[in-house]
């Protein structure tokens, strides 16, 4: 497999640069300081790991010089004289293009794997190397980062927050219940006090009601009250009478307003009179004579019609082929078929004309007969006219009478005005006098004292009522609680449900704990197994065992004499060996699917024997796994790339 790395404006080198690499071998990039070695491995690192989202990995990226730090002005990988730089990495069927902007923005066409930074970078700045160098044996972070434990932990933190919140709700419920109990007690005390005061108030009211004022005042008050009652009664009667008059006027007004009705009746009367006059104009005898005359004319027409019908029949019987005799005069002549048709048509015309005349005359006779019949109804019409006339007279008379009545009643209403005014004045006087008597009563010292005492009791009752309202409100407010934006109005039910929710959350928590341990132990076991194989493979005599403790994920180093060694106490050279071992192990364990392992001079800086062992191992796995293993080494020459 081949890999091509195309870089442009990366680091100190301007313009494009294309480099080729083969898999299955270890490639060594050598050169003096600033020859461009780190530019190449950083380009690989960015193309294979971006986008980087984990906070610790972002920090790692900044330390390694592939991301812009918070305080940095520019992205360090972009050439200082350019705004944009590019990286393109092609291998297998992968074509990854990265665009780097001077302000720190990075765009990539296909996402890489951020774990590449932990697992595949055998460099002095790597986190594994830093931990080993500083003697920090706590490797929990690697099992967290290389497994799903971190995600489960995030959920666990949220569940813990929910549990804390629900527990505080439980406490709130207890506090509210305590408050309700206290307030209920207070309420009962206040209610009992209120009851006592209400009895006292009633007693005071009775005392005020039964108070004996000066008899003279009472006598005067009774007198005025009686007078006032009488006047009010008289006024009421007067007003009732007046109302009745007004109702009567209303009824009469309906009888006065009859102009339209009168006009309608008059029109009807005129129509009937016209009808009667018409009937009176002609006499029955004249009509009968006219009928006889028309009947004569009708008989003549009928005779004429019969005459022409007979002639027509004769002509219809004529047979043309037998001879040419006229059927009427019997004279011999030349009679054709056309002549016969003409004659029949002519008689048909006469018959029709006479028939029409007969009909017209019959209609005339009927009309005349109708007139005679109508004349018989004349007395009836005249009787109807008389009835209408009487009705009209009655309505007009009634209207006139009603007008008179209205005038009379209006006078009565008018005359009641002064009386009503007088009654009202009398009532005003009585009321004024009664008010004066009330004033006198108020001036009575003993009475005044009773009133003041009553007022004080009223005030106390009012105050207690206010306190009771407040207590009631406090109780009502305390009766409900809100959880998950849902209001629960019964505290006992709320507590039960919250307990159930806590039970659900605690069980979920147990599941998460189990999962986190599973993930960590799984990741650590894989790591330990890989490291064990590696130590066996490399045949190192320095350490018997290097592994992550499954209880605390701390790195344990067992020497050849089965003695446990502290990481802080091992030499620098030994630390470099451990660091290399762990880094290769991490790569094989966690990201073997990405065929790149990048390293700087860590391995090559080891003593020649160890360095050779490592190099041989790397060559072997490069070949076995078809990986690209790329190492850098500093020398005093120009940049060279060779395969080992």
């Amino acid at each position: 497999m081949k890999a091509t790395l195309k870089i442009e404006n990366i680091g100190q080198k301007l313009g494009p640069q294309t480099l080729s690499f083969n898999s299955g071998v270890v490639t060594l990039i050598q050169g003096r300081t600033a020859a461009g070695k780190s530019r190449i491995i950083k380009s690989f690192a960015l193309a294979l790991s971006y986008p980087i989202k984990s906070e610790v990995l972002i920090e790692e990226g900044i330390n390694f010089g592939i991301l812009k730090g918070g305080e940095a002005e520019y992205l360090p990988l972009v050439n200082s004289s350019k705004e944009i730089a590019n990286i393109e990495l092609l291998y297998d069927d992968v074509n990854r293009k990265v665009e780097l902007f001077r302000d720190g923005k990075i765009e990539i066409n296909t996402p890489g794997n951020q774990k590449f930074l932990y697992s595949s970078m055998l460099v002095k700045n790597s986190r594994i190397h830093n931990y080993i160098t500083r003697g920090n044996a706590d490797f929990k972070w690697i099992v967290d980062e290389m497994s799903l434990a971190k995600d489960y932990e995030k959920i666990l933190a949220s569940i813990d927050y929910q549990i804390k919140d629900l527990k505080s709700k439980e406490e709130e419920i207890d506090q509210k219940k305590e408050l309700i109990e206290k307030k209920d007690k207070e309420k009962k005390e206040k209610e009992s006090e209120q009851k006592r005061l209400l009895i006292k108030l009633k007693e005071k009211d009775d005392e005020i009601g039964n108070y004996k004022f000066d008899p003279k005042i009472i006598k005067e008050e009774n007198k005025i009250s009686k007078e006032l009652d009488n006047v009010r009664k008289a006024l009421k009667e007067e007003l009732d009478t007046r109302n009745n008059y007004e109702k009567e006027i209303g009824a009469f007004k309906k009888k006065v307003d009859v102009d339209k009705l009168i006009e309608e009746i008059k029109n009807k009367q005129k129509e009937k009179e016209k009808e009667a006059n018409n009937l009176k104009e002609t006499k029955v005898e004249d009509l009968q004579k006219e009928i006889i005359k028309i009947q004569d004319s009708k008989s003549k027409e009928e005779q004429e019609k019969v005459k022409y019908e007979t002639r027509k029949q004769l002509w219809e019987m004529v047979k043309i082929e037998e001879g040419n005799k006229c059927p009427l005069c019997l004279s011999v002549g030349k009679i054709t078929k056309e002549d016969k048709k003409l004659k029949i048509d002519e008689y048909n015309k006469y018959i029709k004309e006479h028939q029409l005349k007969v009909k017209e005359l019959a209609v005339q006779i009927n009309k005349k007969q109708d007139e005679i019949n109508k004349k018989a109804k004349l007395p009836e019409i005249e009787k109807e006219i008389s009835k209408i006339t009487n009705q009209l007279k009655h309505i007009i008379d009634e209207s006139e009478e009603s007008k008179l009545k209205i005038t009379q009643i209006s006078l009565k209403i008018k005359s009641s005005g002064p009386r009503i005014k007088s009654y009202n004045e009398d009532i005003g006087k009585c009321e004024k006098n009664l008010a004066a008597i009330q004033l006198k009563k108020q001036e009575d010292v003993k009475y005044q004292k009773l009133k003041n005492e009553k007022s004080k009791i009223d005030q106390s009752i009012g105050s207690i009522k206010e306190q009771l309202d407040k207590i009631e409100k406090t109780i009502n407010d305390a009766k409900s609680i809100e959880a998950y934006e849902v209001k629960i109005n019964d505290l006992d039910i709320a507590k039960n449900i919250i307990e159930e929710l806590l039970d659900i959350l605690n069980e979920t928590r147990n599941h998460l704990d189990k999962k986190i341990t599973e993930q960590r132990v799984g990741a650590a076991k894989k790591f330990n197994s890989s490291t064990e194989n590696l130590i066996r493979e490399l045949k190192f005599d320095t350490f018997k065992e290097i592994y992550l403790d499954l209880n605390d994920y701390r790195l344990k180093i067992i020497g050849n004499n089965d003695d446990t060694q502290e990481l802080s106490s091992v030499s620098g050279g030994e630390k470099a060996i451990i660091s290399s071992l762990l880094q290769i192990s991490a790569k094989e364990t966690y990201l073997s699917e990405v065929p790149f392992l990048i390293g700087d001079e860590i391995i090559l800086d080891l003593d020649s024997e160890r360095s050779e062992i490592f190099l041989n191992y790397l060559k072997k796995i490069a070949k076995e796994k078809d990986w690209f293993i790329i190492l850098t080494q500093i020398n005093n020459e120009d940049l060279t790339i060779t395969e080992l």
């Binding site: 959920i155 659900i504 999962k515």
Partner: protein, 45 residues
């Protein structure tokens, strides 16, 4: 199966699926709280 047992199993299943598919913490919490809320509302009916 009781509602309580059902929701427990549902939450645990939701956690495992969310983590396996690349956890979106915000979306997960929203769904999770919604489930608890619905359980609470169901208990109040």
């Amino acid at each position: 199966m009781s509602e309580k047992k059902k929701i427990k199993e549902d939450i645990i299943k939701q956690i495992d699926v969310s983590v396996k598919n690349g956890l979106d913490e915000y979306a997960f919490l929203e769904k999770f709280e919604e489930k608890l809320k619905r359980y609470l509302e169901g208990r109040l009916k």
